[in-house]
């Protein structure tokens, strides 16, 4: 056996060893990560551990290639190129995963909490790997990519459940006293559906109209539309012309 052949065999052995070591370390690290991150959810911990494992295996493979003395510069270039392409093409996916890490570790809200992020308000239905599902105040299901939570401030209103809603009712031809009485009568009709007694915050009289500002407390935000419709019907039944904002 020539010296070159002998050297090649040694390099193959070391290359195999580096791959085996990477696989072994990846498996061990997967167990450790899964165990330690399980407090953030089993699925999340497994996924994160799996990413780290694959990263180590790829690292082991690159080391193996370099031990085999294949052209390291070319290999490194190809590897970097592949990584950059993957990162660019999947930047949103990775960004969403980063968002998930933030949501799991920082825990700005939990499922069932009422939150406001950007212009969107709603109750959190579930937190997924790529997105968060909300039920908006209009009763629509809204799916928000996790990266959105990295870029916008989050207001968690769960501690203030039930939610408070301000309504402005504009009476076109009515005195403040008449408006207040009419509003109170109409509110009595919807009161059983509210969390507690609604409150008139202010009554403002302008030249031609009276504005009544109300504060209502509602647990189920999908009820808002129903309450507004019910109030409108009540005013209509009384023959009062109003606008609700």
């Amino acid at each position: 056996m020539t010296l070159e052949e002998y050297s090649l065999i040694i390099r193959i052995i070391f290359a195999l060893l580096s791959i085996i070591l990477a696989i072994f370390l990846g498996s061990r690290l997967r167990e450790i990560i899964t165990k330690n991150l399980s407090k953030f959810g089993h699925a999340f911990a497994s996924k994160f551990a799996e990413i780290v494992r694959y990263f180590l295996i790829i690292l082991g493979a690159v080391i193996a290639f370099s031990i085999l003395s294949l052209d390291v510069v070319v290999l490194t270039g190809i590897s970097i190129g592949i990584i950059i392409i993957v990162l660019i093409s999947m930047r949103d996916v990775f960004s969403n995963y980063a968002g998930e890490i933030y949501l799991r570790v920082r825990r700005p809200f939990n499922e069932g909490d009422f939150i406001k992020v950007g212009r969107i308000s709603g109750r959190v239905l579930c937190i997924n790997s790529q997105d968060v599902e909300l039920i908006s105040t209009e009763g629509e299901r809204v799916i928000i990519p996790n990266q959105f939570f990295l870029k916008h401030p989050i207001i968690n209103k769960s501690s203030t459940t039930p939610m408070s809603i301000e309504l402005k009712i504009i009476f076109k031809e009515s005195t403040p006293e008449e408006s207040e009485e009419t509003v109170m009568e109409a509110l009595n009709e919807v009161r059983p559906e509210l969390f507690e007694d609604p409150r008139i915050i202010s009554i403002n009289k302008t030249d031609t109209r009276t504005e009544v500002n109300l504060l209502l407390h509602i647990v189920n935000q999908r009820k808002i539309k129903w309450v507004i419709n019910k109030l409108s019907r009540e005013f209509h039944r009384k023959g009062v012309e109003i606008e609700i904002e």
Partner: protein, 220 residues
């Protein structure tokens, strides 16, 4: 507030009374499966509405009214039904879903199914017995439903336990009061705690768990 109580037994009785106290002007709707019980419920709770329904029609009712239901309490005499209705209500995005257990051994099943609010009416039996007989080291007095915290009684059996409790209170800055051996309530600083006292402390679950681990390890 519109509250739905499923079931018309003794669990429902306490639930309806509590809901009435919380929101006297709110709507309470009781769904029951037997006509005789419905008649009885009408007399017992004149302020509540009663709905006579078959077991399999309840889900339809929830779907039809899901945008109006604020609170749903599943309080039938069957845990299987309670779990079924609670899961269905959560799936239909009812904001507050509460299940009341008949058999405390079923609690892990409800937790596994992600029912956030599970009431185990039997949970106080253990702590009450321990408190009355006055034989315990750590006794869970109350467990909060919305936060992972509770109120615990720690019995100071010896100087070692005294030191551990004092250091626990100082470390966690937990609010507490002391009950002397003659059942007198004392307030004061950690230095006032004596051997023989029972210290009632409010703290996070994880903190008390690590404290219990420590006293187990120390054999105190």
């Amino acid at each position: 507030m519109r509250s739905i109580v499923i079931g018309g037994g003794h669990l429902a009785y306490f639930t309806v009374a509590a809901l009435r106290e919380i929101d006297p002007k709110g709507r309470i709707i009781i769904i029951e499966f037997t006509s005789e019980k419905v008649e009885m419920l009408k007399k017992t709770f004149p302020y509540a509405e009663t709905v006579f329904s078959s077991i399999d029609k309840v889900e339809e009712y929830i779907i039809e009214n899901r945008s109006l239901i604020d609170v749903l309490v599943s309080a039938t005499d069957s845990d299987a039904l309670n779990l079924r209705y609670a899961k269905h209500s959560i799936k239909n995005e009812v904001p507050i879903v509460i299940a009341i257990l008949n058999n405390p051994l079923n609690e892990p099943i409800f937790i596994k199914e992600k029912i956030k609010y599970v009431i185990n009416p039997y949970k106080t039996i253990t702590s009450k017995v321990k408190e009355i007989v006055n034989k315990f080291r750590v006794n869970m007095i109350y467990e909060f439903s919305k936060i992972n915290a509770g109120i615990y009684a720690l019995k100071i059996e010896d100087a070692k336990m005294l030191r551990k409790v004092q250091s626990f209170i100082l470390k966690n800055d937990s609010p507490f009061f002391i009950v002397s051996v003659d059942d007198r309530v004392r307030a004061g600083s950690v230095e006032n705690i004596q051997v023989g006292d029972v210290v009632y402390i409010s703290c996070l679950d994880k903190d008390i768990r690590s404290f219990i681990e420590k006293i187990r390890e120390g054999g105190g």
